[in-house]
Symmetry: C2
Subunit: 290 residues, 2 copies
């Protein structure tokens, strides 16, 4: 193999992949080479532009830390994370819609008793979250694991404000009760810009795009025998619902942020009057149905 | 813009690019989105596979340092660097063929007088390099800048052995004399594996590919009024000429490593008997011809 030019280099690289360890590795490698070469042939980058692309990817990797994943942000803002999400969740329409995990998920969040206040360090308007987890026939799922996390009233996640395990706040794990219910107290999250002081922020600037996501609460829901669902519940009337920078909004995931006038929520939980309420019914797909 | 699925997400991301700062930014961004989404739709990655891709790119960025550019290695080993090189050097066939810059170029190499020995710290068989730089009509180019660098007899570049400016070795700048000639003394370079203790090495392993490049000497040649040429001269009889891991070999760049039997080279330079000779005639394209 010698004498490669624009016409024969792609086939030459494909020909070098015959020894891949697995058929899947070969399939992915071949597709990567074909699509990457097609991209380069279409845009015909100057050498300076290709060097800038190398530098952009390098800075993106070097921006990553324990609490910052710039390549996930890049995948999110190019719509790839939502595409991968859609490919992996071809569920029936009667189950809860999925959306991106995002870069702020933390595996080791603390387990709380139902009803706990999970915002110990964050100011903001009082919030009650009431959820139900059911199967697609309307039966409650008891003992389901809820992982939930959200931003504060200025749009910052705990891990953006401080580092270390003691910094964790506004994130928790719960289990549903026998009726498939869970509820917790926190503060109303705000819309926020994704971290935009790095390469992804530069890209958004160059593309004339704002970096905002509409206000939302994250949920990861799992139970034996059911598909795990990663999703958000969005708050209605947010100005960014139609221009979410990561393309994550679905109508079925938007709920009204209502105000509780009395001392008890619709679910019967005692609250301060004026507390805001997010209520949502989640439906997990059966594992066997896919 | 809401409710994105596999069928409409690509168009939604394209629609978000209307505010790009320049037409070129929009062209590149649109092509990136189309080709990246087409790749993902073709391979349908699991969420674990996409997370592994994110982690691979992150590690690739974090492997980069002042003396290691893992994303250039990735571009090189996927044949993209040679493709970009071909796109940017559509010169006539009678001028010197180009090939990849590679990750070991150092801008601040020392200027030497013609004839100098540029390997002060490296053992190996004695080498004389004799070059001529001409235009495409056969006229010598006087005062042309030669930047040259190569590996040692174990296949390592100076910057792989040690760090800092004092480590620089087997790399130099020269100017051609009035007859367009330059020559220098060094050691015969060996074939070598590209650095394969990082993500690119893992990729090559998974793809069943060896990491070797055939033995060569790098040249970057520039002169006012001419296109700058980045190329290698390869040594014939190398076992890796037909499987260069970066797809860089061209027949026109291979030269015989001959042995000088007497005390003077064909160019009339005094040498120890048995010194190896690499001789090459470079032809720079006129700037105006492209």
């Amino acid at each position: 193999m010698r004498n490669f030019d624009e016409d024969n280099i792609t086939q030459a690289v494909l020909d070098s992949l015959g020894g891949c360890a697995t058929p899947r590795t070969r399939q992915i490698s071949e597709a990567l080479v074909r699509h990457l070469h097609a991209f380069v042939k279409e845009i015909e980058p100057s050498e300076a532009e290709w060097a800038a692309a190398i530098a952009f990817l390098t800075r993106t990797g070097q921006m990553c830390s324990d609490t910052r994943q710039e390549f996930i942000l890049l995948s999110d803002t190019l719509g790839v994370s939502m595409l991968v999400d859609a490919i992996n969740h071809r569920f029936d329409e009667d189950t809860t819609q999925t959306t991106v995990l995002g870069p702020f998920y933390v595996e080791e969040a603390e387990h709380f008793p139902i009803g706990a206040h999970i915002s110990r360090k964050s100011d903001g308007l009082a919030l009650l979250v009431e959820g139900t987890i059911e199967d697609s026939r309307g039966n409650p799922i008891a003992g389901a694991l809820i992982e939930t996390w959200h931003a504060d009233d200025r749009g910052f996640y705990d891990v953006q404000r401080d580092t270390g395990k003691s910094a964790l706040d506004m994130r928790a794990r719960f289990r549903t009760d026998q009726a498939g219910h869970f509820w917790y107290r926190s503060v109303v999250p705000a819309a926020y810009p994704i971290p935009n002081d790095g390469p992804v922020g530069e890209m958004l600037d160059a593309q004339g795009r704002h970096p905002f996501r509409p206000a939302h609460v994250h949920f990861k829901l799992s139970a034996p025998g059911f598909e795990t669902i990663v999703t958000h519940v969005f708050i209605d009337d947010d100005p960014y619902l139609d221009s979410d920078v990561v393309f994550g909004v679905k109508d079925a995931l938007i709920t009204k942020l209502s105000r509780i006038e009395g001392c008890a929520s619709p679910g019967g939980h005692e609250v301060e009057p004026g507390t805001s309420l997010i209520a949502y019914r989640f439906v997990l797909p059966d594992k066997t149905r896919n």
